[in-house]
């Protein structure tokens, strides 16, 4: 198979770091804080590399959008087995307002330019928890999508995806080219050890600007306030017989206001 896979990776604050809100409530403290690749993106890269090892795809291209530091994340993807990287330079104001809509436009443009047959993304980023980029990219490209994938198999020119949904597992068959978003149980990502990182230094990372791809980076969302919420995180657990210590996590809920209707409902850009 001579397919090319595009894998999107995002540089986020490390999952183990305790998040602190800026005193002026405009965002979260990111200076000097440890960053790493989004865990779901790691799973996506691992799946792409596994497909390459099984000889279903020919080339794995890692893509990331952001400032200069994002190259570290691309290097990690290269160390895990990607063949080359593409760094889409977004910095300053554009980076602060960078969201799933802009990223999906960029990925759609890149997929057409690189003639990718498959796009694999993480299902959501652990910083914004949007869970939108994969779906939006598929819509912009008019490609089928297999989201929350816990198993991916290529059969001829069709993709068999087992999706993890609330009711259990759903198996679908979609035509290539397609977009897949990786869920937690898709695979076990390999660790990018030092020898692999050294070898990855020889691999190329291309620089691209969103303007080159003809993508409009303006955002329709404005973040009004970020506040801390001292609260038990996630689902409220009431059936905890035997568990004497509930872990209290501080969760942050960005308060956003949209000035336009949901982007998914408007015509594709």
């Amino acid at each position: 198979m001579s397919a090319r896979v595009l894998v999107g990776v995002k540089r986020v604050i490390d999952y183990a770091v305790k998040i602190r809100v800026k005193p002026d409530h405009t965002g979260v403290v990111t200076d000097g804080v440890k960053h790493s690749m989004n865990p779901f993106c790691e799973i996506a890269v691992e799946e792409a590399v596994k497909l390459k090892e099984k000889k279903f795809v020919k080339e794995v291209v890692a893509v990331s959008c952001g400032p200069q530091q994002v190259q570290e994340t691309i290097r990690t993807a290269l160390a895990m087995g990607a063949d080359r990287g593409i760094h889409v330079e977004v910095s300053g104001k554009d980076y602060e307002t960078l969201g799933p809509l802009q990223v999906s436009k960029i990925l759609a443009a890149l997929a057409k330019k690189e003639q990718a047959d498959l796009i694999i993304l993480g299902k959501q980023a652990i910083d914004d928890d949007c869970n939108q980029t994969g779906q939006m990219t598929a819509a912009l490209l008019d490609w089928p999508q297999g989201t929350f994938a816990s198993e991916v198999n290529i059969e001829a020119d069709m993709l068999k995806v087992v999706r993890e949904v609330d009711g259990g597992l759903e198996t679908i068959k979609i035509k290539l080219p397609a977009v897949v978003t990786a869920d937690l149980r898709l695979n076990t990502p390999r660790y990018a050890t030092l020898p692999n990182i050294m070898k990855a230094k020889k691999k190329k990372i291309a620089n691209v600007k969103p303007a080159d791809l003809g993508v409009d980076m303006s955002s329709r969302l404005e973040v009004l306030k970020n506040i801390e919420e001292a609260d038990a995180g996630g689902a409220v657990q009431t059936n905890t017989e035997g568990l004497s210590s509930l872990v209290m996590e501080q969760t942050l809920r960005p308060v956003k206001s949209g000035s336009a209707p949901s982007p998914i409902q408007t015509r594709p850009m």
Binding site: L194, I197, N239
Partner: protein, 121 residues
């Protein structure tokens, strides 16, 4: 070839029960260099140390904690000379690398599972 000579030399040192530095004086120049270079496994040991140091950056109890203990563990064995013993220690080091990778994966997996998924009964 080099290794066989070195092992032979070390073996003969032990059997002769003379202190090694005395015997070094009696050896021709190139053999002295062999012993000073201590071991062809030296490169592997250094590589192992660098790999472990790199892995230690993500250690839950902190990088300095890990680095101190790593250095202490390596320094404790600095006088080992037999290649088989050194190889055994290197293998143990590789095992520790695998254990660390497994630790990091499990931590991350459990954190993600707790944050994003309903608790299973």
């Amino acid at each position: 070839m080099q290794r066989r000579n070195l092992a032979f030399i070390l073996e003969s040192i032990h059997t002769m029960a003379l202190p090694p530095h005395v015997l070094v004086y009696c050896l021709p120049q190139d053999k002295k260099r062999d012993i000073k270079m201590s071991n062809p496994l030296r490169g592997e040991v250094i590589r192992l140390y660098k790999n472990l140091l790199y892995l230690g950056r993500e250690y839950p109890k902190g990088t300095t904690y890990f680095r101190e203990r790593l250095k202490a563990a390596f320094m404790k064995n600095k006088d080992v000379t037999e290649p088989e013993k050194i190889q055994k220690l290197i293998d143990r080091g590789e095992f520790v690398i695998k254990e660390l990778e497994a630790l990091y994966f499990l931590r991350k997996y459990r954190a993600m599972k707790k944050r994003y998924y309903e608790p299973e009964h």
